[in-house]
Amino acid sequence: MLGNGASLAYVIPEGILGVTVALVMALGSFKPTRTRGVLAAAGIAGMAAALAATAAGVSWPDGTVLAFHGNIVSDGMVAVFRLVFLLTGLLTIVFAYGSDEVDTRDFGDMTAMIAASVMGMCFMAAAADLLMMYLAMEFVGILSYVLAGLKREDQRSSEAALKYVIFGAASSGVALFGMSLLYGIAGDTSLAAVRAVLVGHGFEPLGLMALVMILAGLGYKMAAVPFHMWCPDVYQGAPTPITAFFSVAPKAAGFALTLRLMDLLLGGIDGDAGASLGHGLAVLIGLVSMATMTVGNLSALKQTSVKRLLAYSSIAHAGYLLMGVATIPAIMGPSPDYTGFRAVFFYLVIYLFMNLGAFLVVTRVVTRLGSDDVSAFRSLGRRSPLAAVVMAIFLFSLVGLPPTAGFAGKFYLFYAILSQGSAFFYILALVGVANSFISLFYYARIVRVMFLDKSPDTRPVPVGALAAVVLVILAIPTILFGIWFGPLVDLAGWVFI
């Protein structure tokens, strides 16, 4: 366990982000109407520097290091999740730069908020202490509320922000109550101490209840049923680039924290101590997963707003990802197997590319045509061939059709749960496959509208050079990882070695 001074070497990317926040805020206070480009460049440079540092192995120890007196843990998992958060943050700033939904006067503050929120997410993935867990969750939450309400003249945006605050406050209250119960049992906020006491005294019943309450708070972050109600309204009301950010980053952070919590409390625990707790949690998370994907997919069928449709699609994807989290029994016992947890990370990376790509197309359409209705996408195949073709790729990848990356991601997830070999997991896999079929209908509907439906307006819709480049950059991994996913498997291998 390292002291504060020695620990600084393990939070260098977060440090870079902190400097970026300060820099962007300072720059934003000079003539904010003329400096949009400068602010975007500063934000992107900061994110890129942190990304490059992480990729170069800075703050990426070989083993596991407990830093800051055990408040956070630094290992490969933190590093690979940092890559996910930073990439999402960086692309969001690029999206927002080209979108007219974010006022130029707010651009600096928005950039700073995104950088700060990414910093909070990195700490979520690293938290090894209840206090740190809660603080990081609130950090991300409070910044998200502000980001959701950025369009102040739009009532829907204000409504979104308020709904986000109320749901967020209630769910983090429940999670905090659960944490206070764990603290009451253990007399210590460190997860290692909680685990030791739970092993000694048995996990049930208070430990189980506390964990369920914490998972409820995390379920809100992931937008899992029944904590998903805020999701469609917030996604629809927030500016589209921010929606893109919400649909990937906080969700990924919620999953990172869930995986971390499960590993620190139950990972490698011997047979009897946590067996019933682990199996109980697996069934609970499995049921939540089934409900989440079914509700998400069935609700998406009827949507006419593409932003809302993608919101339900992101709920459904939280359901698929939860299948991987449900493999908790595998991480217990003398030879823990983290295949399911790795599959969650693997799928999150693919989801990042395909979902951000789809949202970038929506961002451009909203900016050019002023509507996110499905009818706005009519004839997009002729009006903006590049956008329509890459959108089709992203949507087919979201369905999980081969040869796209979405197929590889789903394949890995299903492989992980089928190798569990119990009846419950077979049923879970069956529900997952059935849901993938349902999802084909609404994704394919957008593709049909883009290529087959006639629009009264046939003028071309220019995407813009920057957006076109980013779209291609996002489309390449969406196809490439479907065929050549070796590097991604290697990266996922860093999630709990």
Binding site: M113, V146, G184
Partner: protein
């Protein structure tokens, strides 16, 4: 039953009773009365902190919650200035009945679980265990800048960004930089 236990029960009942009065009629009907009921709850929670040797937290509870947060609540109540007919009693809907039922089940389960876990535990004598300055300014301050330095610093960044967020949300869309 010792005197300490009696005092604890008194404070606990007052704290929970105050919290219940915040939402239930007759106090819950009037926002200002509800805020005052919350004040009672805050005070007795502070009392429980004192009994736990958390002196600094008890003082902060009074200063920050009973002081600052309460002023904010009263300020908001006065700002909204709701009329009498806007404060009609809430109606019972099936969902609310379901919610109350679920809450009661949850409460019973939690209470039973707490009883099971605390069975056979005996109180700890802090002074005998060597925690002489426990809960005082010195000990809390030392913990904040050593063991909990990272959460402490992170909180300061969070507060900074939250203030900027609040300004951002409150700022007018059109019209000069003021």
């Amino acid at each position: 039953m010792t005197a300490e236990l009696l005092i604890f029960y008194f404070m606990a009942i007052m704290a929970v009773g105050g919290a219940v009065c915040v939402v239930l009629p007759p106090f819950g009907r009037n926002p200002l009365h509800a805020a005052l009921a919350l004040l009672v709850s805050f005070f007795f929670v502070a009392g429980i902190f004192v009994m736990l040797s958390a002196h600094l937290v008890a003082v902060l509870q009074i200063l920050v919650y009973a002081g600052a947060v309460m002023v904010l609540f009263v300020f908001v109540v006065m700002l909204l200035n709701l009329k009498k007919d806007e404060l009609k009693g809430a109606r019972w809907t099936p969902w609310k009945v379901f919610g109350v039922g679920a809450g009661l089940v949850m409460f019973t389960k939690l209470a039973l679980a707490v009883v099971v876990v605390t069975e056979g535990e005996t109180p700890v004598n802090l002074a005998a265990e060597g925690f002489t300055g426990y809960g005082g300014i010195h000990d809390v301050g030392a913990a904040l800048v050593t063991t909990y330095l990272l959460p402490f610093e992170l909180t300061s960044i969070l507060l900074l960004v939250a203030i900027i967020g609040a300004v951002l949300v409150a700022r007018r869309q059109t019209g000069g930089a003021s």
